[in-house]
Symmetry: C2
């Protein structure tokens, strides 16, 4: 998974990454947890890593011989203020005239380099474009997380199915009110038992679900949309899954049913078009058109309504990574792993979102896991 | 917890933060999860936030009237490449001549501001110095996590106590080999049931524990150090705890016993000195001296041995935050919440580390939770 193709990198400059295990580029190269404050210098066929002395042995054990690991203390000087002087000396020591960095590279590190005569350029491309195309092992890691999400989603649907409708349409389960908090706890418990972590799981009901990222609070009600969005991350590999279903206990009303049906149609339109080489914008627009054709207009702004987010996003070592599936330039490519998540949001109804993860292939796209759409739950 | 004192901020410039819920400064101000790509502009008595349109309502509901939330779409122009032009327009719109940022501020954002004539200066101080001094509510949040860690540590000690010693000193529990992985899973399960998340929990045994951040793998053995380092984060508040104990099933050998005793003495020396106004360097050096006086010298470099890390670090919305307790300038202050974690690491023995979290007071320091030292476990 960390096989990096460095063959097209020039020798007079290098790509520079700063970060820790939480940063996808570092995780991609080293695959280790519990790391902070590392520099990776990537040139043709060679990677040099600068790390705190006490981390050096652990990193050396984990990586192959192609990666050289250096100790921070050997670049420190008395009187240094903060980390940046030592990190800048490390880079400068390779005699490079220029380093390419991502646009979120730390300003302090950039200034320390520039003051030592090293040019710092933001690379228009991603630092590791290799991360976008997922190989077999990465597909397996993401599929595993997607299966974990499916398992948790099935558990959520089963609980809504087992619940009974009480006073003022509230749901009750095992003798108690069923709230967003309880359902979220059950979902995250299932994810936890599958060696993954889910946090921020969305279980939002009724008009609250008109905010796509509202986590949800309080009782769940029959006849109203319950948006369940589960995004587990593997504790071992760091890869993510992402899955959303919209469930209704009992029957949907007319508006909700029309929204649900429009979102399904948008999803089908997207799936039908997605394949290697297709323009991303055309996929996004096909989904948006399907929603508009069903009478669901979008209005942006502070109280945005309609199809108010992108059609999807890349998934990998970050929950949101390139490519964005929006009204943007660029094409889908074989090996892209992206969510497809059309949704509709109206203040007086709530939200309907259906989200899956697919891998783009030569001639189409393939779901990484299958999950029922649920919809109405008796 | 988000009461920010802006009274000493000048009006011709502002402090600028970019980030999401994972970033402590953003979490400190907004307290919300599931957020990405926000700008916070902080001036005297006023905070302005720029967020994606679909997040604006949720943020407005969560924050008081003193914070104004702006929609990203109103700053976007056709032809923008990436996020930075819109974010820079937002800042520029306030007529500021200069913004102060942290040293990890994204280079791309800084360049977009500079190209529009806004000076970007790295503030020597932390962006929110208010984060360092913990108030009662923050102390409660961290203490809660520390208590969760204690509960999990007690569970770990109980398992080691229940385990029996088998062939070649291996530990067996409930009829199976007890490995790092099993003990870690039990620890993290306990943390999970307490509404918190622990990841990267260290359970390293024998010579492997000579690497302070080695997570540990494979069977646990009697007579060897088992370093258990648990750092739970609250799912609700985002605050961290951090606790380490070193346990030995059965008896310690002479060297190990001497290391354990030296680390305890270093801990006591640190506790005895810590109070408001004391020089951090003097606390660090007192602990280091206690270890050296017991015959445990430190050597840095790639195969570092001895007391090879700092004495501690601040804990709050980040697991590692200011102040560092090292050989550094500066003084401890009332309200500092820091780990105290002397440790010794030798390649042929392994590691001994004892770590607690304390709050610094006017005239001393106070443990946020009490946990037995364990040591030898029969």
């Amino acid at each position: 998974m960390t096989a990096i193709d460095c063959s097209n990198r020039a020798e007079t400059r290098a790509t520079l990454v700063f970060g820790g295990s939480r940063d996808a580029d570092v995780r991609f190269v080293l695959g280790l947890g519990n790391l902070e404050n590392l520099a990776l210098l990537v040139r043709r066929g060679r990677i040099d890593v600068l790390a705190a002395d006490m981390e050096v042995e652990r990193i050396r054990r984990a990586v192959g011989g192609r990666i050289t690991v250096w100790t921070l203390s050997s670049f420190r000087r008395a009187g240094d203020r903060g980390l940046w002087p030592a990190f800048a000396r490390f880079v400068k020591g390779f005699g490079l005239r220029e380093v390419l960095v991502g646009d979120r590279f730390p300003l302090g590190f950039a200034q320390a380099l520039r003051s030592r005569g090293v040019k710092v350029s933001i690379s228009g491309a991603s630092v590791f474009p290799e991360r976008r195309r997922k190989d077999r092992e990465q597909l397996r890691a993401i599929s595993q997380m997607q299966s974990v999400a499916v398992r948790a989603m099935r558990a959520a649907a089963a609980i809504i199915g087992e619940s009974r409708v009480g006073q003022r349409n509230r749901l009750y389960w095992r003798g108690r009110t069923l709230g967003s908090e309880e359902l979220r706890a059950e979902i995250e418990r299932v994810v936890f038992t599958q060696c993954a972590v889910a946090e921020g799981t969305i279980v939002s009901c009724g008009v609250a679900s008109a905010d796509p990222h509202e986590p949800g609070v309080g009782p769940l009600f029959a006849g109203q949309p319950i948006v369940v969005d589960i995004f587990p991350r593997s504790r071992a590999s760091g890869y993510w899954g992402d899955l959303t279903r919209t469930m209704v206990k009992g029957r949907m009303n007319g508006k909700l049913r029309a929204m649900f049906s429009a979102v399904r149609r948008a999803r089908a339109e997207a799936f039908r078009r997605m394949r290697h080489g297709v323009r991303i914008r055309s996929v996004y627009r096909a989904a948006a058109r399907a929603l508009e054709a069903a009478g669901f207009a979008t209005r942006m702004g502070p109280r945005a309504e309609g199809f108010i987010h992108n059609l999807g996003h890349g998934v990998g070592l970050e929950i949101h990574e390139p490519p964005v599936l929006g009204d943007v330039p660029g094409c889908l490519r074989e090996g892209d792993v992206v969510t497809v998540e059309p949704g509709l949001y109206y203040r007086n109804v709530g939200g309907v979102r259906i989200e899956d993860v697919v891998v783009v292939t030569r001639d189409g796209c393939r779901l990484l896991s299958r999950c029922p759409l649920f919809g109405e739950i008796p």
